[in-house]
């Protein structure tokens, strides 16, 4: 990563209360809280012109759920991470800045149960089947077991 870009990232990270760390081979990780995430991403897009969002990943971190936005520009990858507590998993949607993020946010809603306020399609299922029971916890949480999901979805057949 060029020195210039790193400096600018550090400036914006400082403005947004964020922590920045550079890992090996050109990968930068930046922690930003939910109050500042939208501003920070606006800076990335409008000021630094880092336009390509590869995807958004959800992560089970025990008490919290991590939401990582992966931005790419040439050889640099910038991972912007924000966390929401599991007990109250609502996050800010970035669909009005980057419309292409709409499906990624829907996927995290399906897999981790995080609701992105501002996403017009957030209540529609993208990947999960229609007969997914409402009381079954989201599949990618560490506490949800595949065997239980299979039973509730009627995919298990009793051995004859």
């Amino acid at each position: 990563m060029s020195e210039n870009l790193l400096e600018q990232l550090q400036t914006y990270a400082a403005q947004s209360n964020g922590k920045i760390s550079v890992a090996r081979k050109g990968e930068t990780f930046i922690e930003v809280d939910q109050d500042h995430i939208k501003d920070f991403i606006s800076h990335l897009i409008n000021d630094l012109r880092i336009l390509h969002l590869a995807t958004i990943t959800g992560l089970d971190l025990g008490q919290n759920i991590g939401i990582i936005y992966h931005f790419e520009q040439d050889k640099d990858t910038i991972h912007v991470r924000s966390t929401v507590p599991k007990a109250q998993s609502t996050a800010v949607s970035i669909v009005d800045i980057i419309p292409g993020a709409i499906l990624y946010e829907m996927e995290i809603h399906d897999m981790f149960g995080v609701t992105f306020t501002g996403n017009p399609w957030i209540n529609q299922k993208l990947l999960l089947p229609d007969n997914w029971p409402d009381d079954l916890p989201p599949p990618l949480l560490k506490t949800t077991k595949p065997a239980e999901i299979r039973k509730r979805l009627h995919l298990e057949v009793e051995q004859k």
């Binding site: 089947p129 599949p139 595949p146 299979r150 979805l153 995919l155 057949v157």
Partner: protein, 140 residues
């Protein structure tokens, strides 16, 4: 006598309906490749039809996930008697690599009765043709 005539016609030219039930598309491509000039399954009379109501043989690929399970059953019911079902590929036979995944079945035999299993990941077009023709031989 009429029955044996229709049986003869059916074995000469099986009308095949293909349904993809959560497949990675590998088996589907090899099935479509068997229509192309090098393998040319059509010279044996097999024809892919656009609707299950016209079909004699149902070819199913993929592990059946919760979303496609009902649809597979509905399509099976729409195929008129006498009907035959071919499970194409390791996923349709037993769940394949995805056995144990939270939204993957373990073979289509749990959903509909199967007459012929064609294993492989994916099976080669020659294997597909051999399976289809062997099934017809059994009918004959």
């Amino acid at each position: 006598m009429f029955e044996s005539l229709t049986k003869w016609a059916r074995t000469r030219s099986p009308w095949v309906y293909h349904i993809n039930a959560s497949s990675c598309n590998g088996c589907d491509i090899e099935l479509v490749a068997s229509l192309t000039p090098r393998y040319d399954i059509e010279r044996f009379g097999a024809v892919l039809v656009p609707s299950p109501r016209h079909a004699d043989v149902l070819i199913v690929t993929g592990t059946v996930n919760a979303q496609t399970k009902d649809r597979l059953k509905r399509v099976y019911d729409q195929v008129p008697e006498p009907k035959h079902v071919i499970a194409l590929g390791a996923c349709a036979v037993s769940g394949g690599v995805f056995k144990g995944c939270y939204n993957a079945g373990q073979g289509i035999e749990d959903v509909i009765p199967v007459d012929m299993f064609i294993p492989g990941c994916p099976p080669r077009p020659e294997a597909i043709m051999y399976g289809v023709l062997k099934l017809l031989g059994a009918v004959k």
